[in-house]
Symmetry: C2
């Protein structure tokens, strides 16, 4: 049965594009190496018609499909299970820029284009594709859309969802939906585009997308501010939004312990505001000039100091200083890894609830697991925290995780729920958070989702065991 | 059967909130008075629980439901058919502001709140809810979301869809989905919110929404520019976006004949650039000051003049002048009505295709219907034109429409399709454009939409005969 399927697949794609022997671990192991699956084979279609043909074969032979882009997901959603019966459908050969429309500020690309290549293609036209995240050198745009990726520019430009105008999708039945469109307004029927975005390959396979571009700003510059509390940070956010409007393109917060870890493991990095309980990194994009942006930062921060929203501040005086500030922020994850094992949470809250949430969750964790250390940082402007729990100093990390990871998650996610938050802000569900979804979403929400899955993929061909 | 249903309805809502006698035309006739329906009754629930109870009764008794907000729709989607068997479900009694979260920049309101009341509630907190459209004094936020309304601020702030973070919806089965959320990032399952937005009451009844707010800009000011061609207008848009970034909040275009009609019927209105083939109205929002905005306009327009993108320009020197410029733009529809009958089109195109589309459609219309006059204006920044066809001068309007309306639509929509556009940019489908949808969408798209409708409303209780 499998042999017949594989023969048909080879006839469709060419034998060299159906991998079934040798080391397939790049396709079978997830990004954080938490899961080692076993694929029936890896199919590498060249174009949309081949994707459609593969899906028709799968439907016909009852083979389930795991769509995969750069395989950089953090929730084990794009690798096969361990049965050796699932087909990995890798989109990476489909990496053409299909068309550019600079007057319309749009770009149409194959799903397998790497995010960084899309950014560079836009940049070569003097335009900006603002989606930006740590894995951008490997992640594909199809995967970014399937998981509705967030990243560092959401405050101004939105998530991947908001950056996409149109999609091409192959359905579970192997039909091609041509929803590519460069329109800013189009009210002709249901919003299929947004249904496929964020569905993690369980409702259809994204094969191409039309993306929004923006003019490149004349200058992008940063500043740092020291706050005595998260309440101050939230008040500073409001002031910064009011004064800088859409010019405010980044607003990151970093707790003192997060920066202590950076200082410990990367002592060569600068620490402009060493005493701060909370350090805010502000980024501003300006259509006029770097000088204009610096002046606006200085006016904002002077007013914030006077109003008691901040304790101290530093405005980057050069692109090098701006880069160095971001480098500190981006070094937190690495410093955490050097410090030892930890439990990561990618949560979102209404910005207004963040101080109270942190106070409650911090206290509950300390009460339940004395000595745990909270590495709290993230995209405060989006209400998105990476609220990570580092094991007690000198503790046995592996043993702690084995014994307590589930309980730590429960404490954090219960607090998240109590403060109207989300237990998965930008990483999605995959298989890792599937039980959380089943437990924490309302029966009505789950019922609607299941009805949609059943309607679009009644055979359950697409990425089974993910999301629902 | 009906009597039993009405008794149950009266017991649920109180007899005074079930209207079945007297003049119900406000609920039965559409906004443009093209359709006179006949309702079984009008139900006016007080809260979400009552909406759910009404829908359960309807499912039980096999009565179909037409949800209605301000009844300002332009596509006959919110009035009953003429059978006298459909229930109008009016949300207008549900008009509370439920909660404000100024630190999070969100507002949660009942679906029956009038748009203008929402704008005013935000304004009272010094904040901006940017959705703005002609019917805002009557339209409800629920209707705005059900139809994904556009309006004049889409270029900067997006359609109604982009302004909504969370929804509360009653399903066809009378269950309440509490999807109210003030989160900017939340990747926990399928995007139910965007599926309900724009579904025109056919998938569920929106009962409340959490909306995005923005800081009020320090100044909003306008300018006008004269372009010799639509090509110039499109080039000016690109230049304006590059120089003003998100500060550019409006970019409207008006053809000479549209402004000739305004001058003819409202001679008291100013016409700052009388010779222009195409007049562009630019709006800028600025966080600094009116002077700063005017300086940026002047720099933009001086550069555009030098680069040959415009022929002439005028920057408003006061709020009164800004208002007067908008007043001219907003008088076009009224001037058209005074001139006589016409055929309206609400279309969208990739901005880059607009000049070629207009050339082709203009020529095709002149060839088929000599003497017709094109009133072409709209939200060029969004690629959205109100491309209207006025009957030949002195012609019999009613006779022309009777004979030629369908053929005129065909010419226009064929050209729209040829240039990758949409035959309904911001008004939706309703019953008026349902056949167009059936003919012009691909079988795959229609199949997906029907599968979703069948999954969520298998009994066909919600707004049958609309959209699909």
């Amino acid at each position: 049965m499998s042999a017949e399927f594989l023969d048909a697949l080879r006839a469709t794609l060419g034998p060299e594009h159906v991998l079934s022997e040798g080391d397939l671990s790049a396709y079978e192991v997830d990004w954080r190496k938490r899961w080692h699956g076993k694929a029936l084979a890896v199919a590498r279609p060249a174009d949309t018609a081949q994707v459609a043909a593969v899906l028709r074969l799968c439907a016909q032979h009852g083979v389930t499909v795991v769509p995969q882009g750069g395989n950089t997901g953090l929730v084990v959603g794009s690798v096969p299970d361990d049965t050796g019966r699932q087909l990995v459908l890798s989109l990476r050969r489909m990496n053409r820029v299909r068309s550019f429309d600079t007057a319309n500020l749009t770009l149409t690309v194959d799903a397998g284009c790497v995010l960084q290549a899309v950014q560079e293609a836009a940049g070569a036209q003097g335009l900006l594709f603002p989606l930006s995240l740590a894995a951008e050198g490997s992640a594909t745009i199809g995967g970014n859309l399937a998981s509705n990726a967030g990243g560092t520019q959401v405050l101004r430009y939105g998530n991947a969802r908001e950056l996409c105008l149109g999609l091409e999708v192959v359905t579970a039945q192997g039909e091609v939906w041509d929803g590519l469109s460069g329109l800013r307004k189009d009210n002709t029927g249901y919003d299929l585009r947004d249904l496929f975005i964020g569905s993690e390959g369980t409702l259809g396979v994204i094969t191409a997308a039309t993306l929004k571009l923006f003019p490149q700003p004349a200058a992008v510059t940063t500043a740092m501010a020291a706050c005595a509390s998260l309440e101050q940070s939230v008040a500073l956010l409001k002031a910064a939004r009011a004064r800088l409007g859409a010019g405010l393109t980044g607003f990151e917060v970093m707790g003192r312990f997060a920066l202590d870890l950076v200082a410990k493991h990367f002592p060569e990095l600068p620490r402009p505001l060493p005493g701060a309980a909370w350090t805010v990194l502000l980024e501003q994009s300006d259509e006029e000039s770097e000088t204009h942006a610096q002046e606006r930062f200085e006016a904002l921060l002077a007013a914030a100091l006077e109003d008691g929203l901040i304790e101290d501040a530093a405005v980057a005086q050069s692109q090098a200083q701006s880069k160095a500030m971001w480098h500190v922020r981006e070094s937190i994850s690495l410093a955490q890894a050097q410090e030892g094992l930890n439990i990561k949470h990618d949560i979102a809250l209404p910005v207004s609830n963040i101080p109270a949430f942190c106070a409650q969750a911090d206290a509950a964790l300390q009460a339940a697991f004395p000595g745990v250390r909270i590495v709290n940082f993230g995209h405060l402007g989006d209400g998105n925290l990476h609220y990570n729990v580092q094991v007690p100093e000198g503790g046995d990390g592996a043993a702690f995780l084995r014994e307590h990871e589930a309980a730590v998650n429960r404490v954090v996610f219960d607090a998240v729920q109590a403060f109207d938050g989300s237990f998965s802000a930008e990483h999605g569900i995959g298989s890792l958070k599937r039980e959380e979804l089943a437990q924490r979403k309302s029966p009505t929400a789950l019922g609607l989702m299941r009805a949609i899955k059943q309607a679009l993929d009644p055979q359950g061909v697409l990425n089974p065991g993910r999301v629902l």
